[in-house]
């Protein structure tokens, strides 16, 4: 009898030791994988170079042309302009100017080469985000074309620590192209006028108190959500969300799933269907844009704007959409892309979203409360995720609210894993319920709280959660419902908290 406590202590010590060893081995395994990744072909090691959607919208010519511009001409010239300016930005970003000869000729080639080299040296960049063009001259034999355009153009300059200069403007330009053996190339490009793109003053956002769930279907989470969209599964899940007394959902719209292709168009229809199903159940929706965005390189920003132009009209048309989350946890990208670059991208996308869909309220889903004050003046609501220790929850919320300039503050992700390795370590279904209830109590003053997530995911996607077996196990058990569909204790705890939070005073 007297030995029992000693045995318990030894067992606990053994478990701690085993867990520590497992942690170290998993970490070493991931590090080794990172170091020894092999590619069969050079192209596999590079960022994928996809055919960009045209960034040129055509207006009728201001006077008759010698040769009319056919839809095929518009497509070819639009693509040539898009690719030329993407190549120009890439040349600034890399300092490699040889490829410019593919897209520029004559005076424009000389200027693009000089400007790219200077930009690579001084850290400045120029991105032509989109253009609205009037044809103004077309050679009878189709060899010369000239347009006047209003080009949404971003110019910025960064240091390693900060944005030094940022200009987003509508430039009035004249661009002359020549049709050569390899296709259209920009021969001359001149700017005549420029108007800053300035957001209009915004009215304060009034939101209902949002108590919601971050949502993926149980069997098709992350990148499988939109391609394998099953309306019957979604309808059943939304009913389940409603049964938890929730009034909101947060969903994710990866750019890859909403590309300018038939699959993207199909997914836009699915998004529309999803929003209608949510509206039918009085559920508000916060769509999160740019999920799993792969790169911040400025050569891709025009494509990001094209994605906004495809997705935002659908969101703008739905009464269910009460807030748009521009980017999930961009502060986690500071380490890899650099904070100034991430900030420049965020400001650009905020401005362009305002320009495309002025009525849509915007937030950013910061990974931590510490990042939440960033860009607050440009946003309609402040949101962050709180996976930090539970004891500081209320203080963090209070600090964020202080910096929120009176705007609504939402905590759009809280969650606890019920994963049990052994002896209720590191968690359990019961501890999940308790910790969620405690955190929701601490977040009482918040204007919104969203749980991560509705379902357990037995095999979470490595691209989203990483390759560590330990992390994957934890991530697989954040659901309110387990893999069999049975409610965990947390479901009842959340339902009770949501009922309290949404009960009319």
């Amino acid at each position: 009898m007297t030995l029992r406590p000693r045995h318990g202590l030894l067992a606990a010590g053994f478990v701690v030791l085993a867990a520590t060893l497992l942690w170290l081995v998993a970490g070493a395994f991931v590090a080794a994988k990172d170091r020894t990744r092999e590619y069969r072909y050079l192209s596999e090691a590079l960022d994928p170079l996809f055919e960009p959607a045209s960034t040129v919208s055509w207006l009728p010519p201001e006077r008759p042309l010698t040769r009319s511009l056919s839809p095929t001409d518009e497509a070819l010239i639009g693509r040539a302009l898009t690719q030329a300016w993407r190549a120009f930005t890439a040349a600034q970003d890399t300092g490699e100017t040889m490829l410019l000869a593919e897209h520029f000729s004559g005076t424009a080639y000389d200027r693009a080469r000089i400007a790219s080299a200077q930009a690579a040296a001084d850290g400045s960049r120029m991105v032509v985000l989109d253009q609205t063009a009037h044809p103004r001259f077309h050679h009878l034999d189709g060899s010369i074309f000239q347009l006047s355009a209003s080009a949404t153009t971003l110019r910025y300059r960064l240091s390693e620590e900060a944005i030094l200069q940022f200009q987003l403007s509508r430039d009035e330009v004249t661009t002359t192209l020549t049709n050569e053996t390899t296709g259209w190339r920009i021969f001359s490009h001149e700017r005549h006028a420029s108007t800053p793109v300035t957001p209009a003053k915004r009215e304060p956002l009034i939101l209902p108190r949002l108590m919601g769930i971050n949502y993926y279907p149980a069997q098709t989470p992350w990148s499988r959500f939109w391609p394998e969209f099953d309306p019957s599964v979604i309808a059943a899940d939304l009913d389940l969300v409603t049964s938890l007394n929730a009034n909101a959902l947060r969903i994710f719209l990866p750019p890859a799933d909403f590309a300018d292709d038939p699959a993207g168009a199909d997914n836009l229809r699915k998004l529309n269907d999803f929003l209608r199903m949510a509206e039918d159940r009085d559920l508000s929706v916060i769509p999160t844009l740019f999920d799993m965005k792969s790169t911040y390189r400025p050569a891709h920003w025009a494509e990001d704007v094209a994605y906004l132009r495809r997705v935002l009209p659908v969101l703008d048309a739905s009464p269910a959409v009460v807030l748009v989350d521009l980017k999930n946890e961009p502060d986690l990208d500071h380490g890899t892309a650099g904070k100034p670059l991430v900030d420049a991208w965020l400001i650009t996308m905020i401005q362009m979203t305002r320009d495309i869909a002025p009525a849509l309220p915007l937030t950013i889903g910061w990974a931590t409360a510490e990042a939440a004050p960033d860009h607050a003046p440009l946003l309609d609501a402040i949101s962050y995720h709180d996976y930090a220790p539970a004891e500081g929850t209320a203080d963090r919320l209070a600090r964020v609210r202080e910096g929120a300039r009176g705007k609504p503050v939402l905590v759009t992700e809280i969650g606890v894993s019920s994963y049990t390795l052994a002896l209720r370590f590191p968690g359990s279904p019961a501890s999940q319920a308790g910790e969620l209830a405690d955190r929701m109590t601490a977040l009482g003053p918040a204007d919104g709280v969203f749980i991560w997530t509705l379902h357990d995911f037995p095999a979470p996607e490595a691209r989203a959660v990483g390759g560590s077996p330990w992390v994957r196990n934890l991530q697989s058990r954040f659901g309110l419902y387990d893999a069999t569909g049975a409610a965990k204790p947390a479901a009842a705890a959340v339902a009770a908290a949501f009922a309290d939070a949404t009960r009319p005073d």
Binding site: I114, A115, L140, S194
Partner: protein, 347 residues
Amino acid sequence: MIRCSDLALALLLAQPAMAEPFLADAFGLYDPADAGDRALWSGLSGPRHTAPGAPARIAIFAGPKSLVAGKDAGHVVAIILDRAGNLVADGTPATITVAGSRFSVRTEAGIAHKLLPPGTRAGDLYAGVTAGDQQSPKAMLSVVADVGSIEPAFGTPLPTPQGETVFELTSAPLSDRFGNSVPKGVGATLLLTHSDGSHSIAFGQALGDTLQAQFIARDISGPAEASLALGSHVSATVPLTITAPRPVGRPAIRLEPLPDIAALRVTLGPFQTTEGYALTDGAPVSLTLRLQDGTSLGDMAFVQDGSVALLLPLADPTLVTGVQVKSPLGPVDLGDDWQAATGKVAP
């Protein structure tokens, strides 16, 4: 240096008032203290407009390169640049010269151009542009005959081709509605319709002011009607007669018994014609033997090097009582020749 959050506020409230040490132009941002040639680029640069200079370079683009007489307009276009490569100012005077005619024009967005009405005379046109004290290189346009208006026809009576020879049929001199000769190299189709309803076809092309096509008169002897198709136009038909080739002498027979396989190799030839040729390779020749028992034996082969060789399942050549050979030179009875050849064969 501007912190990002401050920058965001500044964007919201007073974007144009931001302190910006670098200037913006059509190709990005640049340091005005280190502008170099960039300071000469025209248009809006920072807060200032830079005007272009006088014409210093002219790029000329004339096209389409091949204009159909009476139908296609031409277009002579010049992009006029100053010394720094800027498009010259709107309204800059320029002169476009085409085949000696001068046209005064003014530039818009650096472009001076002249649309030329369709010409009727085939030939090369040279165009040039001058602006200020600058002159462009020469550019060339070609006006070609309106082939669609050419009516194909044969001229003088057609020849009487000899069989097994190559012969050429030539059209009358052809010209379009403006008198321009058919362009060299234009393709045409020449069709012979034979008395049995079959057709022979050859593809010709224009050389000089006529169309020419060549035939080989093999197996097409007899009366025929010739017609010429150029585009969608077809000429009237013209009769001609193709003479069958005539033989000279009789083809020789050589027999070679092959007792091991109870067969006989028969060599016939050469088949010679009055034109001094042997029958061309590939001409068909058939041999029919009548045997003592009343049955027949035969085979056919194609001429190679003037002769044919046949292998017959016949062990004894003396059993043959009749020999008939058919070739493009006509049928011939070689019974006596066979008997003579049989005598030379060793028993």
